[in-house]
Amino acid sequence: MVAYQKGDEEAFRSLYERHTRALVNFFYKMCYDRATAEDLTQETFFRIIRYRASYRPESTFTTFLYTVARNLWIDQHRSRKAAPKTVSADARGPEEGASLGDSLPAAEQGVLKRLEDREAADLVRHALEGIPEAQRMVFLMAEAQGLKYGEIAEALGIPIGTVKSRMNAALTRLRGLLGHVLR
């Protein structure tokens, strides 16, 4: 990021390649909507570009990135309440087993493997949707993104103790929701 601040475009490209997939999936697991996840990822990077001068190397770039992402999520969450409801091709209705996207042709994976993965993904999705947003955000930053407690605390602007308690609460709740699968 320091190199990009000095005008190195390749450095930004490298940051983009390294972090995009994780960031898209972070947003995706917060909302389970592909379009929203890409919107937010794009806007996060735009903000990074726009405010690149404000980055200070005392923090890691990952912390900076997720601070922006978290602020963006809060903004989006506020405006989402007033927005008209749309239907996502990724979304599953309560009685439907598959989304519109699932009706697309199979990839090269085997049918059984795909079914198994789909089942696991559905279970995880429902479980994640079942935990409060604040806990889910901490959990996803920690487990899906691999951020340390300190980085999460800095990104979210909360004490490390709160990060730990939210992590604990998230895991306890997930265990309650997914425990039957594990046993």
């Binding site: 005008g7 475009e9 930004f12 490209r13 983009y16 995009t20 997939r21 898209v24 999936n25 995706y28 909507d33 592909r34 379009a35 929203t36 996840a37 890409e38 919107d39 990822t41 794009q42 806007e43 990077f45 735009f46 570009i49 690149r52 903004d75 405006s79 008209p84 749309t86 239907v87 996502s88 091709a89 519109l100 996207g101 697309l104 042709p105 990839a107 993965d117 789909r118 696991a120 993904a121 279970l123 995880v124 999705r125 479980a127 994640l128 959990f139 487990e143 899906a144 340390k148 407690y149 730990k164 992590m167 604990n168 895991l171 265990r175 997914l178 425990g179 699968v181 594990l182 046993r183």
Partner: protein, 381 residues
Amino acid sequence: MNQSLIDLLRDELSEAEAATLRARLEREPELRREFEEMRSLVALVRRGEEIEPSAALRERVLRAAQAAQRRSPRAWMEALRGLPALARFRFRNSRFFRVAMVSAAVHVLLLAFLFHRMVLSPASPERVAETTLQAHPEGELLPAAAIRPDRAFVLRLRQRQVPHGPRLAAVGIPGQAEAISRGVSALLDAQSADGSFETLEGTGQAALVFLAEGATSLRPDPLGRALARAVRTLHERMDREGPSGAGVAALIEDYVLCWESLAGEERSLRLGAILRALGRFPQGEAGQEAFVLARLAGISVPAEVELGEARFYLSGPRETLLQGPATRIAATAALARGTDRLDAEAVRAWVAPLFRAALDRLESRPADPLAVLTLQAPYRL
């Protein structure tokens, strides 16, 4: 849940603490079982579905980074063009946008005040008539807020008793004038205005609004407004009955018929007026135009799919081929024609002609160069 176990799992303990806890796990099977379960839980969650960022996203972001380095506002704005949700972010910090919002709010307040004084005021004859007509059987009056503008139109029309025959002829919708005439007569003869507007078919609603506005000849603007109002009514009906509700499909057909009755140029001009009423279509004019083109091409887009098209993204590698609002609506139309797969073959067979038409429109008005770029990709399949 044991916090130390979570810390161990996350590698957040010091070496000494971790060694102590591992030794304890060796000694205590119950604790070990809990740790293993936690590890399995995390592994299971990590197995959850993952998505791949699209190539278009990468292109936009990297282009924006280049534009920022070159300090080119034009290139930056081009990079910003993309997903519709971004409009919110782009305008939120704009001084112009804030001024426009304040100005709009002042205008709305002024209009609301004028409407209240001129239509809903207790002293006005219209208000007296409305309250009389809307009285409950028990004599209790409905609150003023429950009176809808559409109903006010009906009531004004009833009071005026204007001869509507000649004006109906001016509506000029082939084969519809007689039916509309019957519908309007029935409405005017009804004992109560409650619900009458909604029961009238779409063209009837359009003609009624046209008449209520006192127009003596058909010009594009009154009809555009009338159609927009009628489309809004359709959506209110969808809200009540659901997108598959009885009569909803027929109403859509009516609106298309109205639209088709306009001459080519006027049709294009009125597109915005008609579809601005469709607040459920946030993807911009290109997608809306594709919707109308789909209808005119004889492709019946079911209402429930129609509502979902705004966020029509496809999984897997095809996602990169099927971006852009017009493509999304075209893909929706293809699905609605009965195919349950959307692959290259389906795009060729169902979407390409429609796509070509949408692309021609876009190229003639290059307001969104990125949309054109992304639209070209699937057509080259």
